[in-house]
């Protein structure tokens, strides 16, 4: 996120700097030394990222028994996923269901609520003296493993009003007890709430830095001109945080696509298959399930979803290099 601040001046842009004096003699050797510096990276990325990506794309067109190529199926794995597997996506009823649809729920609710809460908390905290304490408190879950978050919230969601914090609170107003993780109607909302709880601190810290970069003079001038707090928020703060928000939205989207640990530990995709997400489906189909071709197809779906993010990052890097 602070990468933009980090990149700063770019001394080595082509044409920007005068060539070193002894150009002809160093050019050949610099090529060789670059190769040495890049060799370990090249080997690791080639073996563990580039080759596997090509292999998985090809495997997604195969039955892939034991992870090997044994029967070419064309697009069958994809057709199965999108039309015959209600655990992946089921359009036959409304609202739709399935892992991919759950990712869409996550995308819509998790992303927007994290940003809204982050913005509200950042603005509120900027008005008080204990700002840094509040930010630390909200940021704390970022340090904790999703596995530990899952255990923490299994306690909060315990279905018994005597032991579960949330049901105990609701019991005061004579509601429930509700089986937050055991009821297919509640489970996704309950999981998304944990995700939000875990990520709001991140949004708060980023947006707080953006708000702080608004100069005091501008705020003062607006107040002197008679702007009220809501106008200041809409006309000054919101435009200033629109770029950080778009970067945040991309980051949170990546989180949603990769989401696995939380779902695995809290519900194992259940009850039934109602809280599955695509990263979980990939793991489940390929490893306990042994359906490697289908698992590969799910992985490729994840890859395709990531392509726009890839392009966004490349474009952002290009514009930063030019400026």
């Amino acid at each position: 996120m602070t990468s933009s601040a980090m990149s700063g001046p770019v001394p080595h842009m082509p044409g920007a700097a005068a060539p070193p004096p002894a150009k002809s003699s160093t050019e050949g050797r610099s090529w060789l030394s670059a190769l040495l510096f890049l060799l370990p990276t090249g080997l690791l990325l080639g073996v563990f990222l580039v080759y596997p990506t090509i292999y998985t794309i090809l495997l997604s067109f195969d039955r892939g028994r034991r992870g090997e190529f044994n029967k070419f199926l064309g697009l069958d794995n994809y057709v199965t996923l999108f039309t015959k597997d209600p655990n992946f996506i089921d359009f036959s009823q409304f609202p739709p269901s399935g892992a991919l649809f759950n990712n869409i729920l996550w995308l819509v609710f998790y992303t927007s609520i994290v940003i809204i809460f982050g913005l509200v908390i950042a603005v509120m905290a900027s008005r008080v003296r204990y700002e840094s304490i509040i930010k630390s408190v909200v940021f704390l879950p970022m340090a904790i493993a999703a596995t530990a978050l899952a255990v923490i919230w299994r306690f909060v969601y315990a279905p018994d009003a005597k032991t579960g914090l949330l049901n105990a609170v609701l019991d005061v107003v004579h509601v429930g007890p509700i089986s937050w993780l055991g009821n297919p109607g509640f489970v996704n909302a309950s999981l998304i709430a944990v995700g939000i709880w875990g990520s709001v601190g991140f949004a708060t810290v980023i947006l707080s830095a953006a708000i702080k970069s608004i100069s005091a003079e501008i705020m003062e001038a607006a107040r002197v001109d008679g702007a009220n707090e809501i106008q200041i928020f809409r006309r000054i703060i919101l435009p200033m945080v629109s770029l950080p928000i778009s970067v945040l939205a991309v980051t949170l989207t990546v989180n949603v696509v990769k989401l696995f640990d939380l779902v695995y530990v809290m519900t194992l995709g259940g009850p039934g298959t109602s809280s599955r997400v695509i990263a979980f489906t990939m793991y489940q189909e390929a490893f306990p399930g042994g359906l490697f071709g289908k698992g590969a197809a799910v992985a490729v779906v994840m890859l395709i979803i990531m392509i726009p993010v890839m392009l966004f990052n490349i474009r952002r890097f290009r514009t930063e290099s030019v400026t």
Binding site: T2, L44, Y51, V123, V128, V151, W153, T163, K212, I314
Partner: protein
Amino acid sequence: MSDSPEVPGGLVNREGPSTLSGRILERLNKTPIHIGLGIVAVIWLAPTIGLLVTSFRPRSDIQATGWWETINTLRFTTENYSSVLNAQGMLQAFVNNIIISVPSTILPLVIGSLAAYAFSWIKFPLRDTLFLTVIALMMIPAQVAFIPILQLFAQVGFTRNFMGIWLTHTAFALPFGIFLLRNFFITLPKDLIEAARIDGASRFGIFRTIVVPLSVPAIAAYGIFQFLWVWNDLLMALVFVQEPRNWPLTRQISTLLSQYGTEWNLLAAGAFLLMIVPLVVFFSLQRYFVQGLLAGSVK
């Protein structure tokens, strides 16, 4: 890696109104903010404090009442910790976490900074194209690589020891690490590096004596980020650590959860064991930690 810029004043009007009535008015104006932030603090603290308290309660208490009832019972025990550490193999899992995390942090730091140096201070053909490829690789989900990597590891037995998880964590950390470190390296003063070149320093000499020492803050932030990333990981451990005696805490806890859904006392202690190292890092190195995470947000 810039700190949150400390613009003087910012939104906070530090002086405040001078008259008494003005001050009272301001207090009243801020009351909703204090209440709102109080609610935020409770929502973000209560679940974690609940887990901490629970982990010290006797098993029978945990099953009968919620942690907030401790105020009435005031019964505490360390029995949960001794039983997860001894009987449930958590001590070994804790050691495994260290065995997995340390090399998986050092390897990408070393290999990544070498590559980042080449991308920032050596001219070679296709440099920009290769760097854009690295940025693109940053977005490849680990799932895409699982099946072929497991095929490779099966031939050399890397899932039976720690080699598999070290190598996979290292490879998947590299694109982001290179991106982050290169962005820092290019901000180093050009004159310094050119002068060293003219004095006859080798490229590796410049890397070791100038670039690395000047980049300690960036390297530390990235190191902490990567260490916690690996420490907290479950997915890679599920796929690439197949011997139960090599399992890290995350995997041990998730097994505990499915085996004994009702052994809440063990779960609470186990989860807190998993949280201790990240919490210590968070409170002692908060600045680097926040910077690393913020920079890591593009990952």
